[in-house]
Amino acid sequence: MSIDLETAAKVAKLARIKVEDDALPALADEFNTILGFIEQLNEVDVDGVEPMTSVTPQRLKRREDVVTDGHMPEKILSNAPDAREGFFAVPKVME
């Protein structure tokens, strides 16, 4: 599998990272180096092997589905780059 410029641009878009057009060739090269390294995994016989979901065999803990925390909007907003009237503010999302 080789990554072309179009794929590199698509991945950048999916990751929501702006990559200038002139930086795409170098990025695609790096992807190809890393993916070339990862390709080794194809040598392994994984027939009938379950993909790991949890490294320790324990079952995740359960608790009642109830509210346990809250009522601290000032704390939640204290690090926001732009907070107004108790809300996070972002650029307009609808025309």
Partner: protein, 493 residues
């Protein structure tokens, strides 16, 4: 009398309890050492006022006879840990100015025990790196120096390693996703343990790869690792993967007696082109454990070769998901927008400006391996290989092996900038001996065992059974005593 900042945790604890020294004196000695060590780049947010306030509180507590082991002991905290009201930015521009409203469970437990935070320690950005060269704060320099080169302290816990090795603090917290405690410990001649996955709560630690991340102590010796790990461990309802099992008294388990223990030597860790000195160190370590009464057995971990490629699918995949939260909305950096820019441009520009090159690369690799059409070929295949890697270890432990001895790193510390022209995979090879342990969720400890020809420290790694950190630390203690490593870097900073 030894300078106070040079004490181990155990020595300082005993002196505090005996009334020979105060926490304020210990803390001031460390603060003075930190002030004179800017050339190392280890401490990036200094908190002297907080430190002295906590030291005074610790002294009052000790005077009342209520003193847990860590009470009054000055330590550094890796920048990856959220600390209430104190900058916590994972060495990334995207978290510039972020001051958490909460404290991570691990740092809270240390605080509850009376430990004194001196400040936050430098690291690779989001813990992604093996040389501490991806930090927004700039490089950390290894206190060890053998010529005019500035050497890497390793990564990602490079600031923690350098600070402990240079006696700027008595000990420090680290985190380890693929070797980030053990590799820098080896490069700086100190001890570091990554406990079993689930031992330390991950709550409040900036997430990199959640199925691999574990916190652990970085200390001057094995006893200190036992003392500090004790304070960091324990069940936390706020982390759903935190293990609800008792934590034994690790320090009490340090007897140095390894008679009858079976130590495995994995043949797959003998890499082509491995430096002779590393081979010799490994053979010497094996002989020391044998002399101490352990039985040595050759073992095989056949899927070792596939650990790094599996890691470089799984870790970026999890990182791409975890780092999706840095969007310029809730905290940290937001890019300045142009006229007409919408929310998508805000995300894209913020993340391009806020993330460094290595972080961007890993997020995008992770995005790719999780994307439609490639999920099975990459991500699921890597998770299957991970199952096989864990099975290798289970079979070895089932056959009666108590611990596995390997080199900690494939080389001694290298020069900062020396890997700049290498492709990213060359840097990833630093973690070849450590990354298997994260994939299998096992405890692993790195301890200094000798110097190379240049005079730089080299480390050995011991890997233990799940939840048996106490036994593992005891084996490490026996090895430490036999190796007798006492070298310290000569002060040049």
């Amino acid at each position: 009398m030894t300078e106070l900042n040079k004490l181990t945790l155990a020595e300082a604890r005993d002196k505090l309890r005996a009334g020979d020294v105060t926490s304020v004196e210990l803390t001031q000695a460390c603060l003075d050492a930190i002030e004179g060590a800017d050339a190392l780049g280890a401490f990036v947010h200094k908190t002297p006022e907080i430190a002295l306030e906590r030291a005074r509180a610790a002294d009052a507590r000790i005077a009342q006879g209520d003193a847990p082991a860590m009470c009054g002991l000055p330590i550094g905290i890796k920048d990856l840990f959220c600390t209430k009201g104190v900058d916590s930015q994972a060495a990334s521009r995207i978290l510039q100015g972020f001051k958490p409203e909460y404290e991570s469970t691990v740092s809270q437990q240390l605080l509850d025990d009376g430990a004194v935070m001196l400040g936050k320690l430098n690291m690779d950005e989001f813990a992604m790196g093996s040389s501490n060269e991806t930090s927004v704060y700039g490089n950390v320099v290894n206190p060890w120096k053998v010529d005019d080169r500035a050497l890497t302290p390793g990564g990602s816990s490079g600031g923690s390693a350098a600070a402990v090795a240079a006696d700027l603090c008595l000990a420090a917290t680290g985190t380890d996703t693929g070797g980030s405690i053990r590799q820098p410990a080896a490069f700086t001649g100190i001890t570091g343990i990554k406990p079993t996955y689930g031992r330390c709560s991950r709550w409040g630690i900036v997430a990199f790869a959640s199925s691999l991340d574990q916190a652990g102590p970085m200390t001057k010796d094995v006893r200190d690792a036992a003392i500090m790990l004790q304070a960091m461990c324990g069940h936390d309802p706020k982390d759903s993967t935190s293990a609800d099992i008792p934590v034994p008294d690790f320090e009490a388990m340090l007897t140095g007696d390894v008679k009858g223990k079976v130590i495995g030597i994995p043949r797959e860790y003998r890499m082509d082109g491995m430096p002779e000195e590393i081979e010799k160190l490994w053979a010497d370590g094996t002989a020391m454990l044998k002399d101490a009464g352990a039985e040595i057995r050759d073992i095989s971990l056949p899927h070792t070769k596939y650990a790094l490629p599996a890691y470089y699918v799984i870790a970026p995949a999890e990182a791409s998901s975890n780092l999706a939260r840095y969007d310029g909305v809730r905290y940290g950096h937001r890019a300045k927008l142009a006229q007409g820019d919408g929310i998508t441009e805000m995300y894209e520009k913020t993340r391009a400006e806020g993330f460094g090159h290595e972080v961007q690369r890993r997020v995008m690799v992770g995005t790719y391996v999780l994307s439609a059409g490639f999920y099975d070929a990459y991500y699921n295949r890597a998770r299957k290989v991970r199952t096989l890697i864990k099975r290798d270890f289970e079979q070895v432990f089932d056959s009666g092996i108590d611990a596995i001895l390997t080199p900690a790193t494939p080389s001694a510390a290298f020069g900062l900038g020396e890997m700049a022209q290498a492709d990213p995979v060359q840097m990833y090879l630093n973690d070849v001996f450590t990354v298997t342990v994260n994939l299998a969720g096992l405890p692993g400890v790195s301890l200094p065992a000798g110097l190379d020809k240049q005079g730089l420290p080299l480390g050995l790694q011991l890997i233990g059974r799940p939840w048996e950190e106490g036994d593992l630390l005891n084996t490490a203690y026996a090895l430490e005593r036999a190796a007798g490593f006492v070298a310290k870097p000569a002060k040049w900073w």
